[in-house]
Amino acid sequence: MINLLQIFGKKTFAHGIHPDEYKETSQKITRRLAFPTKVSLPLAQSIGKPARAIVHKGQYVQRGELIAEADGFMSVPLHASVTGIVAAIELVLTAKGNKELAIILETSLSSGQAVLKSATKNIASMSRTELIQAVQNMGMVGLGGAAFPTHVKMSIPNDRNIHTVIVNGCECEPFLTTDHRVMLEQVQNLILGIQIALKCVDAETAIIGIENNKPDVLEAIKSHLANETNITVVAVETKYPQGAEKMLIKSLLGVEIPSKGLPSEIGLAVFNVTTLAQIGTLMPLSQPLIERIITITGDNLRKSGNYIVPLGTSLGHILNHADFFGNEAELILGGPMMGMAAASLDVPITKGTGAVLVLDKRATKDDEIMPCIKCSLCLQACPINLNPSELGQLAAKRRYDVMEEQYNLNDCFDCGCCSYVCPSNIPLVQYFRIAKTLNRERHRQNG
């Protein structure tokens, strides 16, 4: 089908919403946060299988040392994010709300915190398989928030050919600015990461998609692309959820990923900019992923900004250093549309955490839930073109099977646009999440 919007020269997708941006931290240079005295590293850092711990209590580990190995192909290894002593291997509370097994390291503050040295790599001479193996060995996952093991994404089945790599630099969620900083501060590493990704998936060209609210980034990247003829950068409309891969692909190329399919089905592979920049930074040095850049932003913070923190740093440590002075807050790991609220200050930063967002009561006042007045605003917001109004009414009646079979519930990817626009304050996406979970359970029981 012809995309009308593209005829008028606007790179975008249909529907979506325009929340206020709140990207005040986008001009703050990335700095390093002081080391915490303790880190807790859950073994499940990706959406794949958890890693297997290979250290024991009391063991001394150096920063960058392997402490848990990958448990099969759908798993990534875990490395020590500080130099110190294994204090415990125990259950800790995570952002998901459950308790998971984690390795607790007590930082030895007297040590220099130097990263374990290993032989540098000559990337140009490495084969495709060696590159993908190196990506797994460094413990890389999608840093945009999905935490999908990157090496799995790079291992394209033999019957599929990838022609283009899409580099996702949209950062469409309000408040978040880590991708913005990475694209400004690490352009060279990003380009190297893109070249590695191209080799891994055996594609010729790459397109970097960036929302047009970041002109400084567009400028910076363009100036570095003079010698990279196979990489282009394209500005897309600033609109949520532009950074969802389905939406970005539609905006850039005008094509759609078939329902419940993968981008590889139409010859595409999508990677987040920060993920590729990290690969470009770490791989030549043979270093693993042990820290990440996060945005610390929101209300009642004296020192908001973009910070590099060791994995496993607790929220409490971060709030303390960002000088949080409020009395009551919602602590959100990720953006305000899709992030996870943490229940405790002990919750650690994991590989998939891109931000700590602190929200005061203001935007979060809970109004009364009214009946659906069928205003159709949710239909006009849903980027997948679902019928959230009907789905919401079915959910209220617990007709979860009908939602799945007749109203494409499983195409919903939790973007939250429907809840955002609902004048009746109906928690639509929240209903849908419950429905999907219960459906999965039902299918499992039925075999």
């Binding site: 305000p336 405790s344 205003c375 239909l379 626009v421 004048p423 928690p427």
Partner: protein, 349 residues
């Protein structure tokens, strides 16, 4: 000094919301109706104003009482009953007895809305349910038209307005012949067209210098009020536009076969069509939500209106057209579910 022990709130995403609430939307619809209320008062005098107030109060009180009877918190604060009351009164003649307005309001809210389960669950536009009841119960009063711009309209009520409940209303013929400046025919433009073959000038219809139900006479003012709501993003412009397109196509079609039938512009500007297109058909609850469904709904309303106007026994057609389309809404929706992103072709079974 950083606070190391804040109280932590916990919810699930999304954490931000930017939407007008239902009450805000409803309040803005009331604002948009205020110019029409003023115009009706200027045009028809205090009888019209009294009818609007009484009918609206009847709706609000009915809603409040029903909520009390059901032991539920009252829902009058969402303003939807106010809208129903104003909309209902707008479709009545200026001299309509007030007590009948009270009955209309009671039926509109009680039968049209609350018996279905209240706001969000009504199948039909409540105001039109009320009007349909009045049309059946009081066929004479609802088609007794009085002249506009009567000299004493801000001081004296039209005699029929203050009729006692359940008594035969005062005959207004004598009064009309006294106050009317020149030969007032007592007929609306639609009735003139239907029974006498006289087509009123479009400019008169557009600016509203004709007689008719109190809120429907000026198409210009209705369009301005509608534009305000569209601008505030509180009215789905697709419904009025589809109704207008449907009416225009149907009118031209009938006109092509029968030159006696009026053309599209007359059909659009006369009767309650413009008012119904902007304020009645667009009732969110009783109209489809799907994009294609909205369009089909509008076309259906337009097409039925023209057909009933030309071939039905009554002059007021748009009300029945909308009620019929309301009833067809679930059917329309089930056939017009949107095509999702990346939809695969269904395997042939």
């Amino acid at each position: 000094m950083a606070n190391k022990n804040p109280k932590i709130d916990l919810r699930t995403s999304p954490y931000i919301r930017r939407a007008p609430t239902v009450a805000q939307i409803m309040r803005n619809v009331v604002y948009a109706l205020i110019p029409l209320i003023i115009f009706a008062t200027v045009h028809f005098g205090i009888s019209a104003l009294a009818l609007i107030i009484v009918t609206t109060l009847s709706c609000v009180i009915t809603e409040h009482l029903f909520c009390k009877l059901a032991h539920k918190p009252t829902t009058i604060k969402d303003f939807s009953a106010v809208i129903t009351g104003i909309l209902l009164s707008m479709t009545l003649p200026a001299g309509f007895p007030l007590w009948m307005g009270v009955v209309g309001g009671f039926v509109a809210i009680g039968l049209g809305k609350l018996l279905f389960g209240g706001l969000g669950f009504n199948v039909f536009n409540p105001a039109l349910v009320g009007r349909a009841f009045l049309q059946a119960a009081f066929p004479v009063s609802i088609t007794t038209w009085t002249p506009t711009h009567v000299a004493d309209r801000f001081v004296d009520f039209i005699p029929s307005t203050l009729a006692l409940p359940f008594m035969r209303p005062v005959d207004t013929t004598t009064w009309t012949s006294q106050v009317a400046i020149d030969g007032f025919s007592g007929a609306t433009p639609l009735a003139l067209m239907k029974f006498q073959g006289i087509i009123t000038e479009n400019s008169a219809l557009f600016f509203g210098t004709v007689t008719g139900s109190i809120g429907e006479t000026s198409s210009l003012l209705i369009l301005i009020c509608g534009a305000y709501l569209v601008f505030r993003n509180m009215l789905d412009w697709r419904i009025p536009v589809a109704v207008i397109i449907g009416t225009a196509i149907a009118a031209e079609l009938f006109h092509a076969f029968n030159p006696q039938a009026p053309q599209a512009l007359f059909m659009l500007l006369s009767g309650g069509l413009m008012f119904a297109a902007v304020f009645m058909a667009s009732d969110m609850v009783a109209s489809p939500v799907t994009p294609l469904g909205i369009f089909i709904f509008g076309l259906l309303v337009g097409f039925l209106t023209v057909t009933i106007r030309l071939y039905g026994a009554l002059t007021e057609a748009v009300m029945y057209a909308i009620l019929f389309a309301n009833a067809a809404t679930p059917l329309i929706e089930s056939y017009t579910q949107p095509k999702i992103y990346g939809a695969r072709k269904k395997p042939k079974s």
